[in-house]
């Protein structure tokens, strides 16, 4: 839908879009094209000369077992974060949708972790799981579990997944609750009259009807786990121990700013851009489908 009437053309519209276009060009388009250009260069160790090498940086990346490991690790991490946070959110939303009195009170009590910065979420969890002091590692010791995420790879991964999922439950809960509350009550009532119990109603009516929300949230959670979890990783493990939590977005930062491998980091940036574009396309195709419903 577009407007039928417009203001007469003058210099004014150009003036109005100018601030946004200038910022976009200077801070988005130019750096992105620089990243693409740099990804085709190799700089010598002293930064004195650069050589144009076509796709050698990419070739090196894809032959680097560490990069492929990081890639698979990122997929694994995103999947676990999405599954954990969406699973918790759908359970809580399902019960909150059932209780008529208090659903909004529970919503207030559940949505505020959204406002906690990822690095702070990381700090809270690292404090609770501190191997010598942490309250939870103290309890775990009582069960005979020796917690030390500075040494144990799977414990480190578990900790960042928990911290990342904890923060995202709020967002997923909000969308699931809204989706469930928009299902017409008559549908649920009809099923209840036909003798379907609460669990059966959930699986055969509610769950299929909220599937558009589920698809939408899968994309959003993947984007979140890919890019917004940098702060959590940086605060909790710094990619360690032995690179076991080094996900792609952390690797770009680490190789570029700490390792100073400009070409390699730029090539990784380009790959990440392609991933974001793919996710955006998926999201928009889904949004279009939602309009058709």
């Amino acid at each position: 839908m577009l407007k039928r009437v417009h203001f007469p053309t003058s210099y004014l519209p150009y003036l109005l879009v100018a601030p946004q276009i200038i910022i976009t060009l200077v801070f988005f388009i130019w750096p992105a094209s620089q990243a693409m250009y740099q990804s085709l260069l190799i700089e010598d160790a002293f930064g004195l000369s650069t050589e144009f090498v076509w796709f050698e940086n990419f070739q090196v990346l894809f032959e680097d077992p560490k990069y492929l490991e990081s890639f698979i690790r990122t997929m694994w991490f995103s999947g676990a974060v999405a599954l954990l946070s969406m699973g918790m959110a759908i359970i809580l939303a399902g019960f909150a949708d059932r209780v008529i009195r208090g659903a909004m009170v529970y919503r207030t009590l559940l949505i505020w972790p959204y406002a906690v910065a990822p690095v702070l979420a990381g700090a809270l969890w690292v404090f609770m799981f501190n191997p010598t002091l942490g309250i939870i590692s103290y309890f775990l010791e009582g069960f005979g579990i020796d917690w030390n995420h500075y040494l144990n790879k799977s414990q480190a991964m578990g900790l960042v997944i928990m911290a990342a999922a904890w923060k995202q439950v709020a967002y997923n809960f909000l969308f699931y609750l809204a989706a469930m509350q928009s299902i017409p009550k008559s549908v649920i009532e009809a099923a209840a009259i036909d003798g379907a119990g609460p669990l059966k109603r959930f699986w055969t009516i509610v769950f299929p009807l909220i599937s558009p929300t589920t698809f939408f949230l899968i994309v959003i959670n993947a984007v979140y786990a890919f890019f917004d979890t940098f702060g959590i990783i940086h605060a909790v493990t710094q990619g360690g121990p032995a690179g076991s939590t080094n996900i792609l977005v952390y690797k770009v930062y680490n190789d570029g700013f700490v390792g100073l491998d400009l070409g390699g980091s730029a090539a990784q940036s380009v790959i990440l851009m392609i991933l974001v574009i793919a996710m955006t396309v998926v999201q928009f195709r889904f949004v279009e489908r939602k309009v058709e419903y």
Binding site: F7, I23, F27, I29, I100, L124, T132, L133
Partner: protein, 283 residues
Amino acid sequence: MIENRPVLTFLSHLILIFGVAMIAFPIWITFVASTHTDIRMTQVPLPLWPGDQLFVNLNETLIGEGAAGTNNVPVWRMMLNSLVMALSIAFGKIAISLISAFAIVYFKFPFRMMFFWLIFITLMLPVEVRILPTYEVVAKLGLLNSYAGLSLPLIASATATFMFRQVFLTIPDEMLESARIDGAGPMRFFWDILLPLSRTNIAALFVILFIYGWNQYLWPLLITQDTNMTTIVMSIKQLLESAEATPEWNIIMMTALLAMLPPILVVVFMQKLFVKGLTETDK
């Protein structure tokens, strides 16, 4: 209520309360830690119940020296930096998105679609994927260690422009026709009709963008070397590192609490706007 199942209702409340407790537990532990002395916070097991040092710690953190390892920048200064950054990002994004959406919807001009796509592309370039070259641009412009450098590269946003475009498209054409018959020019129409009509959308977006701006981490981390420009969210990392040598967990957790308080208050007290903003921008 579909049917009366008291046991299930009771179970629902039980599970929800359990869920709330699980979600709130990390914050509770943080709060408890900020109410004890630093000596108590090194004795295992750590307390689960608040102590009586809340105001002592608050005073020490906010005005005093703070924890060791923060290079002695007072916490209030860091909170001020965060506030300036969050407000400039929120106001800046809203302002430039409003006027560019206005131009794209209400004018037909050459290259309109090109501008539209140019803005659209920014959706695909989060700061995390273009950090190094963006850093170089900001360095060349001499904007390191400045509020402009902190906020400008995060200001352009496709989502806000799209949202305002969507809002403007739902405003009936008759509004524009009658405004033009009454002799109103474009800017008059913008100020007196469009802005008042999109007031709640602006407020909802402001809530989301304030949280987004306050919680920025990677970008400020890269471009501020001057400790006077440190934001409060950034400082947590340094504090965690300093905890290895001087474990003043009461002060560290008090700082963390202060760092997350403003956005949490915004979410809790402006919940309606927050939910509206979250669901309408689709992130």
